[in-house]
Symmetry: C2
Subunit: 247 residues, 2 copies
């Protein structure tokens, strides 16, 4: 344990080990402590000299404060996120803790290491549905009013963006995704292609693409990334892509 600690916020990608960048692998190999949500910490192989700190869901700020305290004590800490840490994951929570924490936390050695976020792995498995301008929207209303979610979906559809939805549906909010589908049907042709990518890059990966008119809300759950095409999105054999050009 050195006198000056460090904090790395690292993205493990969506699941497949071959999607973890070498710099993240290297950071984990040098860590004294790994901090994160239980299923992400379980992706790290235990070894002598490495302390694994698992925490439950929805305690992001407390987890960030814990990680910063460890770094302040001279530990070399890696906070692990699924996907990319900057996309609906731990990086923003750490900086929120830094902003409101002790001044010395601002001087800590902190680095963010990017990762393959779920929508990019999903898009690659589908073809190239995000091949034109697109938006990423977290459909959970845990941290913002629900009407902000539906307003953003409507604005994105009207402006011709493709869309990727994170956290589309959960047991605690089973009906909201149906409202999102209704907004999309208001704004886009029923033939617009929508893809449901479940457990992307994991052994149980399951991907289905269908026209918006046939989409049902029960095709999505918390393990699903939903990708909505534009009016130009089309099939090329077994693949789906959004053309680069718009005339």
């Amino acid at each position: 344990m050195s006198a000056t600690g460090s904090l790395v916020i690292a993205g493990l990608g969506p699941g497949r080990a071959a999607l973890i960048t070498p710099e993240v692998t290297d950071a984990v190999a040098r860590a004294t402590d790994v901090v994160g949500y239980i299923p992400y910490v379980r992706r790290i192989a235990p070894r002598d000299g490495l302390v694994l700190h698992e925490s439950d869901n929805r305690v992001e700020l407390e987890r960030a404060q814990h990680a910063l305290s460890l770094a302040q004590d001279g530990r070399h800490v890696v906070v692990v996120s699924s996907g990319d840490p900057g996309v609906f994951a731990m990086a923003a929570a750490v900086f929120e803790a830094v902003e409101h924490g002790p001044d010395m936390w601002q001087d800590l050695d902190i680095r963010v290491l990017p990762g393959i976020t779920a929508m990019l792995a999903a898009a690659a498995a589908i073809g190239a549905p995000l091949g034109h301008d697109f938006c990423a929207i977290n459909l959970s209303d845990n941290l913002k009013p629900w009407e902000v979610v539906t307003n953003r979906v409507r604005a994105a559809a009207q402006a011709g963006f493709a869309m990727a939805f994170y956290n589309p549906r959960s047991k605690s909010r089973p009906h909201q995704f149906g409202e999102v589908l209704a907004v999309l049907r208001d704004e886009l042709p029923g033939s617009t292609l929508i893809s449901f990518a479940k457990s992307v890059s994991k052994p149980d990966e399951d991907i289905a693409t269908l026209p918006l008119a046939e989409a049902r809300d029960d095709l999505a759950d918390m393990r699903t990334v939903v990708i909505v095409g534009t009016a130009e999105t089309r099939r090329a054999g077994r693949f789906v892509y959004t053309p680069r050009s718009l005339s």
Copy 2:
């Protein structure tokens, strides 16, 4: 050369070798042919048995057709993109060529391997400016009308999205980015933080964040990713982040 060829469309990430995923490294190691824009092909180490095919900018469709023809002839082809192949890069061009090409191209063994796209590496270097809902917009009007670009920027600002701009400015269109800044100033407070990330993850990486009111169009060029915060985006020490929550 086997009887059945293959085509992999692979993302090399934004520049730093430690950002290339192991599955991309593996695909390049197995390739007989690497096809791509000159500076991306130059990132691949030459070796016996590997043919490097460099092509110029703005010939994406011809390059895709060439790669598909090689795969049809039984070669194992990797088309290399910078960043992620599905984000303003080669994957959409390949599927466009598949759609309009000979039927047999639809049956080829084609896979897309995701990569770290520039906006994620830029965001990581800045802090977490894309920590809330965000859009990715290609500011080039080579492939879409200019008013579509400004309309999308305006819609995204009005709906409260953070934004990442690809290809913000080039020698052939030096004045358009100033129009984009004017649209942003119409819609967002002058205190909104905007970051210019040049040559992200490369030795000459250069990142500057300033309030929108002080932004100038000459801070961007073709090597720059521009990230525009929301009204909530703020500093935490030397970092910039967009809070996860919106009350």
